[in-house]
Amino acid sequence: MMVPVRCFTCGNVVAEHWEEFDERANEGDEDPEKVLDELGVERYCCRRMLVSHRDLVDVVSPYQ
């Protein structure tokens, strides 16, 4: 639904970077690897949080 606030594994706050990541790597055509490096999301546990996330609010909101 909404992006997890923290990384499940290490507890780093990843949601802070979600909107920029989404804008640049998902909506835009930048390389996700480079975007994550620039955002300072270093560890692969935190990187998978953003890479594998899908926002579902728009999908479920019509049924509210």
């Binding site: 639904m1 909404m2 992006v3 606030v5 923290r6 290490c10 507890g11 780093n12 706050v13 949601a15 802070e16 970077h17 979600w18 909107e19 560890r43 926002d55 609010v57 728009d58 479920v60 909101s61 509210q64």
Partner: protein, 249 residues
């Protein structure tokens, strides 16, 4: 411990640092690590009273999200175990409620990150809630864990022992952490973690330096790295004193 105790910073930032500690036993190094994770209390939202929540997520889900937002934690002794700080949030859609929308009634306790999306609100949806933040320990809930990915490695000493045979292919030799080369501390990231980049054509020997540990510490923003480490050490000290008092005749 006969060896002299010494601390030296390799990298130092507000939320991330790397430092070398000499003259401690592996057990003590691990004690510090564990204290940083579990025994340094931080402020986090624990109770939420919803006035209105017409968003697509349940109250409980939003309460969890609010709890995970790191809050700046005031100095030790400023807040007692049962004291609370009230934060309120009131956002009307269409908009996204961010952690930065939380309004605290105490200047010392503020959201450490401003851009954590709490919930995306559509037309006519609204989130209004009041939350109580308390001080608690990482061992009770991960939201109270101030240290993030805290760990340590042995300091490694690199010594050049000779030249590689002339026509031998150079193999990469990966080390991670910090190496010591003639008393100089070099983070392995400086040579892409590969010793063959730093010592081309040389044969090198890598050895752990006994009782020297390189800590890598990050915090979630509740306080600085320095604060976290000193509070962890204080917590060990106070528990050791408590034990000493308890077993005294």
């Amino acid at each position: 411990m006969t060896e002299e105790y010494d601390v030296e910073f390799v990298e130092r930032g507000e939320r991330e640092a790397r430092f070398l500690v000499r003259g401690v036993t592996p057990g003590f190094a691990n004690g510090i690590r564990r204290a940083m994770l579990a025994d340094v209390p931080t402020m986090a939202i624990d109770t939420v009273r919803f006035v209105e929540n017409s968003s697509v997520m349940f109250d409980e889900q939003l309460a969890l999200r609010l709890g995970l937002v790191p809050l700046t934690t005031p100095p030790e002794g400023e807040f007692g175990e049962d004291e609370t700080v009230t934060l309120s949030i009131d956002v009307e859609g269409p908009a996204t409620a961010y952690s930065g929308d939380l309004v605290s009634n105490d200047e010392l306790v503020q959201p450490a990150d401003q851009n954590v999306p709490i919930i995306d609100l559509k037309d006519d949806q609204r989130l209004e809630a009041e939350a109580d933040a308390v001080v608690d320990y990482g061992k009770d809930h991960a939201k109270h864990q101030g240290g993030v990915a805290v760990g340590y490695r042995h300091l490694q000493q690199v010594e050049v022992v000779g030249d590689l045979p002339e026509f031998e292919d150079e193999e990469s030799r990966i080390v991670r952490g910090v190496i010591e080369d003639n008393g100089e501390l070099v983070p392995t990231s400086e040579f892409d973690h590969d010793l063959s980049n730093r010592y081309p054509g040389k044969e090198v020997e890598v050895e752990d330096v006994p009782n020297a540990f390189v800590f890598h510490v990050e915090t979630d923003g509740s306080f600085s790295v320095e604060e976290l480490v000193t509070r962890a050490a204080d917590s060990i000290e106070s528990r050791a004193t408590e034990l000493e008092d308890a077993v005294q005749l």
